[in-house]
Symmetry: C2
Subunit: 147 residues, 2 copies
């Protein structure tokens, strides 16, 4: 069998690509003078996209544990990009909304993120990306399947 050694294991390539993209994107953000992490960006963007979302839903959307989301939201609040108000109809939740400054970060980062993706996918055509997406979906499902 060919995958005796770690470097031949496909999940190695997966980690490798995932981490490489993460570092790359983070470097670009920092270079643009934007003081947030990739994960903070993902959370910010998710909240921006969906009105009246719960932290749990944010977590599900970004594949993060709820505990992590709680902390990231606290950081975003501290940085003045996000604010929370008590939710009008459910006392357990809070209403999440971007501040002016949060909105402005989203507008700044969006084109950077697009450029990052374009560069990371250089030389890979749309069909290949679609195939990649399908395989990754299958892997995710295989792993998440209850047993």
């Amino acid at each position: 069998m060919a995958d005796r050694r770690l470097k031949d294991v496909i999940f190695y390539s997966l980690e490798s690509a995932s981490k490489a993209y993460r570092r790359f994107a983070q470097a670009r953000l920092s270079a643009a003078g934007i003081d947030i992490t990739i994960d903070q960006w993902l959370v910010l963007k998710t909240i921006h996209e969906s009105a009246d979302i719960t932290l749990q839903q944010v977590g599900a959307a970004v594949f993060k544990d709820f505990a992590s989301v709680t902390r990231i939201v606290q950081l975003l609040e501290r940085k003045g990009l996000l604010c929370r108000k008590p939710h009008p109809s459910d006392g357990r939740r809070s209403e999440l909304m971007l501040t002016k400054s949060g909105e402005s970060v989203v507008r700044t980062v969006e084109p950077i993120a697009q450029g990052n993706r374009r560069q990371a996918l250089d030389g890979i055509d749309a069909e290949e990306v679609a195939r990649l997406r399908a395989v990754l979906k299958r892997i995710t499902e295989n792993c998440d399947a209850p047993r």
Copy 2:
């Protein structure tokens, strides 16, 4: 453009699959009563594979920061799976080697790891895996390219 929303971004699928597999594999290890983390396993296996390796090389092999490797090695030492001796010819390094108990963990985990991979790749044929590997490699290179 279709990837306005986060969930349409391919790197999302990448994170998703990577995290799903990680959680899946970790659960299998724990279920087998093996008290190490996935990352500790990767480091242990790497050292097992390569005689006389430096921590830097270990880090490169598992896509980890050297600082992380240092800490993981400390944990593996504390668990009695790994031991370090002063390196005979280079005073900066130490010689890394598995203990009896470390060897035994490797023998126990190896078949589990193979089973995990088999299950995670269920329904994905070898050709597709090869294609996946190639695309991931390209992405990694695109991101690591100096600029």
